[in-house]
């Protein structure tokens, strides 16, 4: 019998086109997702060199980062530079024969939400996109990673990438997640424990009972945040949950091909005895709902804790980073995080804007009212998520509670469209980055789960979701 291999190794081995002596492997790419922000210079590069897109049938584009989320502003983007970028993508897709899910199409949405939803993302494939949160797709047992624009051009032209083989890290989550603790809290807990560069140079495989128990949505949230731990990619071995999610999706294999695919996918999980370069164990039972207090996702505490004292950090680098972060965030050490008031709430992004996330937030909101001091918005991750939510009347629940209900896109996750924080505004956000200025210049971001964000909108400050009074 051959040597036991990890999920990552199987996919890697399966995609090596050639390994020229003294060079990194040339890896074949099965799926390339494209959006408006990181692609214009890549298409321009192709034009200048007189090259074509090698496999337009393995390439799909959408617009998500720039698009306005108010229905009335969708048809004409008012920001001329954003409009130029969207138009450039339209022209590039037309010229190079790449399918585009445009702003008014039923398939439009955040690139990492629509890939899985359309059945484009599937186990065992290699998938890239000019976006760091491409790690999301690893939830299906795919090797999915973000690339820069030069590499986007490289994949467009060759359908391959030259890759140095990364190391492997198994994150083994033992036990099960307590009530009120979600995949988002798990992701933040892991980053808090291994730090924001804890997985640099590695591909993470998430394993263990708590991971197996997660829905596909939860696994996507978890893999999405892998990049915030510095990982090249995050992945979860495919299982019945994966197959049940994919079956019948638009681009998923059909008929005999489906059976053949599933038989193959079942061989993907890491073999017993397969070796990882590193293993980290996490105790799920010890986790609690998480809130970030600083300007990096690793600056995180549980909702029952207080804003930390920078002097308590072990190294000078951490002390000065914490001091700076507290000053930026306008927080004082020792303040219970639940006493910190918020004035904005954002429920959205490729981390937490799928149907399950919106259901969780709506369940919290039902029968309550958003605090008069808070502006709260819900931005579905895709057009399909929006429609499904409306069919369940979640939009009504949100609207009645005082949340704004928007069209799909990245929105306030990074504020490239009109949805931005004003200076010094404080936001409870379900997105993935609390970097300085991420949601708007001098804006202050606290990362939380969808239920925690909804509760903060209603209370006007952070609350422990485990003691929430549900009115359903």
């Amino acid at each position: 019998m051959s040597r036991p291999r990890t999920l990552f190794e199987k996919i890697w081995d399966d995609h090596v086109v050639c390994q020229p002596a003294g060079e990194p492997a040339l890896l074949y790419i099965d799926l390339h997702l494209v959006h408006e922000v990181t692609s214009p210079q890549a298409f321009e590069g192709l034009r200048l060199a007189g090259r074509r897109v090698r496999r337009p049938d393995l390439t799909f584009a959408t617009v998500d980062h720039n698009v306005p989320t108010l229905a009335a502003e969708r048809s004409i983007i008012r920001d001329p530079i954003a409009a130029q970028q969207v138009n450039a993508l339209r022209r590039n897709c037309r010229d190079f024969g790449v399918p585009l899910f445009d702003i008014d199409s039923a398939e439009q949405g955040i690139v990492h939400v629509i890939g899985p939803e359309l059945g484009l993302t599937r186990p065992g494939i290699t998938l890239v996109c000019g976006d760091s949160h491409t790690s999301t797709h690893g939830a299906f047992g795919a090797l999915a990673f973000g690339i820069g624009t030069s590499e986007v051009e490289h994949v467009l032209a060759t359908q391959c990438l030259r890759q140095q083989r990364p190391k492997t890290l198994q994150v083994l989550v033992r036990g099960s997640l307590p009530n009120g603790v979600t995949a988002k809290d798990l992701a933040l807990g892991i980053i808090g424990s291994i730090s924001t560069d804890g997985a640099t140079g590695h591909v993470i495989e998430y394993a263990g009972e708590a991971v197996r128990a997660l829905s596909m949505e939860g696994r996507m949230t978890l893999c999405n945040m892998s990049i915030e731990a510095g990982a090249r990619a995050g992945m979860v071995a495919p299982d019945e949950t994966t197959f049940a999610y994919l079956r019948g999706r638009r681009f998923a294999p059909k008929g005999a091909a489906w059976n053949e695919a599933v038989a193959c996918w079942k061989t993907l999980p890491s073999d017993p005895g397969a070796q990882f370069d590193r293993v980290v164990e996490i105790d799920a039972a010890a986790l609690a709902p998480a809130v970030t207090w600083g300007t990096s996702p690793g600056m995180v505490i549980s909702v029952t804790e207080r804003v930390p004292d920078p002097q308590r950090f072990p190294s000078e680098v951490e002390r000065s980073a914490a001091l700076r972060a507290l000053e930026y965030m306008g927080l004082r050490p020792g303040t219970p995080i639940q006493e910190v008031p918020v004035n904005r709430v954002f429920i959205g992004s490729c981390t937490n804007a799928r149907l399950e996330d919106l259901r969780a937030a709506a369940r919290v909101a039902k029968g309550h009212k958003v605090s008069s001091k808070v502006i709260a918005m819900v931005v579905p991750g895709s057009h399909a998520v929006k429609q499904a939510a409306e069919q369940e009347k979640l939009d009504q629940v949100f609207r009645e509670a005082g949340f704004e209900w928007r069209e799909s896109g990245c929105s306030m996750c990074l504020g490239m469209n009109p949805d931005i924080l004003q200076p010094l505004e404080r936001c409870a956000s379900t997105s993935n980055r609390n970097f300085e200025g991420r949601q708007g210049t001098r804006g202050r971001t606290h990362l939380v789960s969808p239920a925690m964000a909804a509760a903060a909108a209603i209370a006007g400050h952070f609350v422990d979701i485990r003691s929430w009074e549900y009115r359903d």
Binding site: V17, L26, L31, H154, A157, Q159, T196, G437
Partner: protein, 203 residues
């Protein structure tokens, strides 16, 4: 691509860890469709005050670091977003090499694709360079890719690792895509053997 062999230049010390690409180039400047002209927006929110005036406390605004072309920074430099606008901005501003104890993966790849050299040195070596740059006006170093070393005129000498392929790629300023296309027959052969269910079903 611009080749990198040897560069001697003034050092600017940015003593912060986890400098993310949102800081290097804030999102409001990502809407352009060109590759050039991003230098004016580099570290925008740190460089400029709310009223648009340069923030005198930010290191790059200090006259003694004017014209710096080697940036020394804390660990995990370039974390976050995959935007290649970050190396474009650093390069357009005038930087040719970045020295730090560690870099985020995507950022480091993006740098080498553009001939901007990311150099990993140890924590004490980086600390020494940060100190020298803040102590000695006009402090400069030589980054020598051929010899894989960083040195100054007063005895500082540090070796760095870089894989052979990347080094050759940078030294010669190779065309990445052209290089891959030399393996076109291998790619075609691979494509013939691909499983059909790896391709999206047509609808």
């Amino acid at each position: 691509m611009q080749a990198f062999q040897l560069h001697t230049g003034r050092v600017a010390p940015l003593n912060r860890a986890n400098v993310d690409t949102d800081q290097i180039i804030p999102k409001q400047f990502l809407k352009r469709i060109e590759r050039s002209g991003y230098g004016q927006f580099l570290f925008y929110d740190w460089r400029y005050l709310a009223d648009g005036k340069p923030d005198p406390s930010f290191i790059l605004n200090h006259p003694r670091y004017a014209g710096a072309s080697v940036l020394v920074a804390g660990r995990n430099f370039g974390c976050g977003s995959s935007r290649e606008h970050a190396p474009w901005a650093l390069q357009d501003y005038g930087f040719r090499a970045i020295i730090a104890p560690s870099f985020a993966d995507i950022f480091a790849t993006n740098c080498t694709k553009n001939g901007l050299l990311p150099v990993v040195l140890s924590d004490p070596e980086v600390a020494k360079l940060l100190l020298n740059a803040s102590q000695f006006e006009g402090y400069f170093v030589t980054v020598d890719l051929e010899k894989r070393e960083v040195r100054d005129q007063s005895g500082f000498l540090a070796h760095f690792e870089i894989d052979d392929f990347k080094r050759k790629f940078l030294l010669e300023g190779l065309d990445d895509i052209g290089l891959t296309l030399q393996h076109e027959p291998d790619i075609t052969a691979y494509e013939r053997g691909r499983k059909t269910f790896a391709t999206p079903a047509s609808t």
